[in-house]
Symmetry: C2
Subunit: 364 residues, 2 copies
């Protein structure tokens, strides 16, 4: 028995957002929503539709000179723990504001993708609509990463837009992120005879002093100011209330501007913590904004707003790694993402749709 599509891609895009918010799709549980998206898009004759697990790629093939990607993830972070919180399913609407899990991150963006996919039978660029799973969990699970491995040809394009929430402005590129363990060791002893040991927590004092006095840089990249940060995100040491600790570990997160690669970032951290044992445990490079390209500039021009740098690491980096310039542009406030008060104004979703429709259909 086939899946019956319940989505009407031609209705008000804010209403469409609400409908897909009501199909719960916490990471790992995207199938029901992916089924709906797949069945609905398969019914559109101007699109070629592919599916890989719970990721769906729909493409026009109009022979245009350029191709753009519109991409968004289907999954959300878990529902709020508080029963009855506004973030739970079903979504609610109050005074033109849509509340619930996925409101900002990013079912509004996904609804805009779906509306454009249905409506634009003859856009001025060929368009690839990508809907993917597992964005909110460990990077190796990402549906976009899986697509890039399994079917890289499906991702090929001249420019990509991720419909992550940017409050309706274009946010270019993103900072890279890296994590390190900075460690001290000592000698355990009973704390009643502390002088027979060496306290590894005390030896960590300079690590915190250097972090506390570190002044993170703001780096200009292609006219956008990327603000960096260097932070202890975790510290642990000690085994018992009467033992001199022989080990202390500080986890440091360095968010670095896209003028640096991962090696540059690691060198900076090793220099800061010179004299300490430093191990890099994680890292993802950022992405340059790519706003110097005409195709990106035309989007910025239609929007009529100054583009901003993106601070958080997003999947624009995956496109960047494939040689495709990418920006973030979507409805909603990124600061509300993952909160129990996640919400988006219905008008913001409609405005995003209107801007992209204009950009994709305006005569060259």
């Amino acid at each position: 028995m086939g899946i019956v599509s319940e989505l009407n891609l031609r209705e008000d895009v804010a209403k469409l957002t609400e409908r897909i918010m009501n199909i719960e799709s916490v990471s790992g549980n995207e199938k029901a929503l992916a089924d709906q998206v797949y069945e609905t898009l398969r019914g559109l004759s101007h699109l070629e539709v592919h599916r890989d697990g719970d990721s769906i790629v729909a493409r026009t093939n109009l022979g245009r000179a350029q191709r753009v990607v519109l991409a968004g993830h289907l999954d959300t972070v878990p529902l709020p723990h508080v029963a009855g919180a506004r973030g739970t399913v079903p979504a609610t609407v109050t005074d033109g504001v849509l509340y619930g899990r996925g409101a900002t991150d990013m079912k509004g963006g996904v609804a805009v993708q779906l509306a454009l996919a249905a409506e634009l039978t003859g856009p001025r660029f060929d368009v690839t609509y990508i809907f993917y799973d597992h964005e909110e969990v460990a990077a190796e699970k990402s549906g976009l990463g899986r697509l890039a491995r399994n079917s890289p040809q499906l991702l090929q394009a001249d420019f990509a837009i991720l419909l992550e929430p940017t409050n309706g402005t274009v946010e270019g590129g993103c900072n890279g992120t890296s994590r390190f363990l900075v460690r001290t060791t000592g000698t355990a002893a009973h704390s009643a005879r502390a002088w027979m040991g060496e306290n590894a927590i005390h030896k960590a004092a300079p690590i915190l002093v250097r972090l506390a006095s570190y002044e993170p840089a703001t780096v200009d990249v292609e006219g956008l100011a990327y603000r960096e940060s260097m932070n202890a995100v975790r510290i642990s040491g000690g085994v018992a209330g009467n033992v001199i600790p022989d080990y202390c570990e500080v986890e440091v997160n360095y968010r670095f501007a896209p003028d640096k690669n991962l090696s540059d970032a690691e060198a900076a951290v090793r220099s800061l913590f010179e004299g300490f044992d430093v191990e890099r445990t994680d890292g993802a490079e950022g992405a340059r904004p790519g706003l110097d390209q005409p195709i990106a500039a035309s989007l910025v021009q239609i929007l009529g707003q100054e583009p901003k740098p993106k601070y958080g690491w997003t999947d624009v980096s995956r496109f960047s790694a494939l040689g495709i310039s990418a920006v973030n542009f979507g409805p909603g406030d990124a600061l509300l993402a993952h909160t129990d008060d996640e919400h988006v104004s219905q008008q913001a979703i409609r405005d995003c749709l209107n801007t992209l429709r204009l950009w994709l259909t305006e005569a060259n």
Copy 2:
């Protein structure tokens, strides 16, 4: 059916130690050994024997001018995890050295108590022999504490000796111990926008700096030098690799000389961490050595060795709190206590017995 005593208190005290080491008595499991001790002592007509749970008190009632306590705990820390390690039951003997759990802490001392209890029908002081449970676990479980609450009259004495391991010298009094949580708070934020938060781990830098540069005092009390210590024993902070931590907590253990009470200790710690949130979570006062009393001096004289300060907190403090001067004096090296290599020389046990026999029987 009654318990049949298998202990022969008249045999070589080192052999007696080995026998009671082979009656496993990890804290909470003292009953089998307590039964043996109780049944054996009940058979001695010169002793009045009481039992409270797995604690046993046996007293002479000779109408002497002074009464001394000889006290020791029946329990041990858990057996080593390594199967076949020398600390497991049964005990082993190699070249006159007895290996196994309890060898130093403190079945040698308990054997000396038992041997004296059987042998000395007419000591020069009345003697109270106390064998108690639950010394190696949380203080509120202590059998000695329970006796002090239930039957304080049984503990009354002019002087007390704890047969904890002191390598055969007299160790007077003990340091007090206290624990504190020193806390910082900040503001959580996504680490990609660290400037919207305030890092509680960074704010803990001065706590570690003050600890690292703290110079602990050595305090003379009644001629003994008590070495203090001030240490971070645990640190924790941070919730995730991408969140600016809003909380950091350092657990500090201050071991203080017996010239100070708990209020003095707390004041010192609050002064050191001025400007930080400090909470005292634990505390036990130390004990002055009490070596200025003639009854204690006579023991030191017979031994012919300089007494030393005791650093670790021991149950001498419980006697001190009852107004009874107390010292530690027993066979074995305290540094081996709780290790997988716990051992004691057989001769050290015999020497301890000989010293106490001489002290308890010598004409005034």
